[in-house]
């Protein structure tokens, strides 16, 4: 036991040391440990949390195929041309059947792979449904502590309701493409409500102007914006409009800072991470304990026999394993 623990400390310590000397392998390994729920993750997060606060976190979301990854590629270039460093977290979906995943965002992100001021990490969603993986908040903390000026978080290709990214990002870019829906789609609740900046990508398509005017009309319905989200046209594959887009993103970040709203967003992301960690711990603990003492099997049998229902069972298990704990 003692040996095991000291070995654990060594793992965390060598990673924290690696952060100090900005070794990319240390950041890469830290992400893996956090993702896998390793026993070393807690120590690493505790230490790195003290060193966060530098990065501006930009979320990039939108439907599959609208050009998020290509846009990330051109945003990396824009950020580097300003002389800033950037870490990218790109999430793609895991298979609900095998747990496997194909993480293909690097296929579009062609430039600056070996640039020392750029770090790119692909994450699988691992069953989490909000558009990011459940460890995203903690992984952003790692990137922040490593000292990037910007952290870009690209979500999985989203439908209408995967809005978790707004809880973690300081600024959210919603990417659209021409031809994806009429004005009734645009006034629905969900993803179109969370954009701080909108971008209509593939704007060389003839329907682009219509997509822009539908978005503008939707935004006009709200009269009392503190920040009126701008709508920018881009052709990411040619880098067109990206400088303007990056300018608007920075304007939004400055707006947040000048109006003391950044704090609000940062604390929102802390609450999101806290909530996620409580959920994870609780679920893991209840499943582990009820599995090891046989309660889970008995409960599942009751369920299949129709003697109880999941909501009642959930309350029972919570009562049994959480309320009795010291």
């Amino acid at each position: 036991m003692y040996l095991h623990e000291s070995a654990g400390n060594q793992v965390a310590e060598s990673i924290i040391q690696g952060f100090r000397t900005r070794k990319r392998a240390a950041l890469a390994r830290a992400v893996t440990l956090v993702e896998n729920g390793s026993i070393h993750a807690q120590d690493i997060l505790e230490e790195t949390f003290k060193h966060r606060g530098r990065s501006r976190v930009l979320g990039i979301t939108g439907s599959p195929g609208v050009g998020k990854s290509t846009l990330v590629d051109s945003l990396i270039t824009a950020i580097r041309e300003h002389g800033n460093s950037v870490g990218v977290i790109a999430v793609d979906p895991s298979s609900p059947f095998t747990g496997g995943a194909i993480l293909g965002d690097r296929v579009r992100v062609r430039s600056r792979t070996t640039d020392d001021q750029v770090f790119f990490r692909s994450l699988a969603s691992r069953g989490h449904l909000g558009g990011v993986s459940r460890h995203t908040g903690d992984i952003i903390t790692l990137f922040d502590a490593f000292g990037f000026d910007y952290v870009l978080v690209e979500t999985v290709g989203t439908g209408q309701s995967e809005v978790d990214i707004m809880r973690y990002a300081h600024s959210v870019l919603v990417v659209m493409a021409p031809g994806l829906g009429d004005d009734i789609q645009a006034i629905k609740a969900g993803i179109l409500e969370i954009g701080d900046v909108f971008c209509v990508n593939k704007a060389d398509h003839p329907d682009a102007d219509r997509a822009v005017s539908v978005l503008e009309a939707m935004l006009e319905l709200n009269r009392d914006w503190k920040w009126r989200p701008p709508v920018i046209k881009t052709v990411a594959s040619q880098g067109k409009g990206v400088v303007e887009l990056f300018g608007k993103i920075n304007m939004h970040l400055e707006f947040l800072e000048q109006n003391n709203l950044l704090e609000e967003r940062v604390s929102r992301s802390h609450i999101a991470s806290l909530e996620e960690n409580i959920k994870r711990e609780t679920v893991d603990r209840i499943f582990a304990r009820s599995h090891s003492d046989g309660t889970l099997d008995r409960a599942l049998k009751q369920l299949s026999e129709g003697k109880t229902h999941p909501a009642a069972l959930a309350r029972q298990l919570i009562q049994l394993y959480l309320c009795s704990e010291k």
């Binding site: 896998n36 026993i39 747990g99 496997g100 293909g104 792979t113």
Partner: protein, 134 residues
């Protein structure tokens, strides 16, 4: 700890044929692994950098251009350089059009296994699982 095996499927060099790379990526995915696909036309330096940032257990290179004896040893060298001192903790595999007479020298240069056309993808998956280095 819920450990996932992570694999970088890489396309070093100038050939533009990635059907094989996609088939093997799919096979690894179906075996429950997380596969990062590099996209076409990557340099050994880029692949090594990706392997470090993605913290992969396996680098599987697909190459059909005939430049395997030049590029694959360089992938190994770049990995060693990126990873620093000590034994490489990444399994390095190669697949594609690679004549049998080249296999021995590739292995000497640090490629762990070479899979030619017609190999059963299940055999590759099983080999991978059985030979992880960490």
């Amino acid at each position: 700890m819920d450990r996932k095996i992570r694999v970088l499927v890489g396309k070093p060099g100038l050939d533009g044929h990635d059907r094989g790379a996609k088939v093997i990526a799919r096979a690894y995915r179906d075996a429950g692994m997380e596969v990062i696909y590099s996209g076409l036309h990557r340099t050994p330096e880029e692949l090594a950098r990706m392997a470090v940032e993605e913290d992969v257990d396996v680098v599987a290179c697909s190459i059909l251009s005939g430049a395997h004896s030049t590029l694959l040893p360089r992938v190994v060298d770049c990995l060693k350089k990126e990873k620093g001192a000590g034994e490489l903790d990444v399994l390095v595999l190669a697949g594609g059009i690679i004549p049998v007479e080249d296999v021995e020298s590739l292995k000497e240069s640090g490629i762990d296994a070479v899979f030619g056309p017609g190999t059963n993808t299940q055999d590759i998956v099983e080999y991978t699982r059985a030979n992880l280095k960490r």
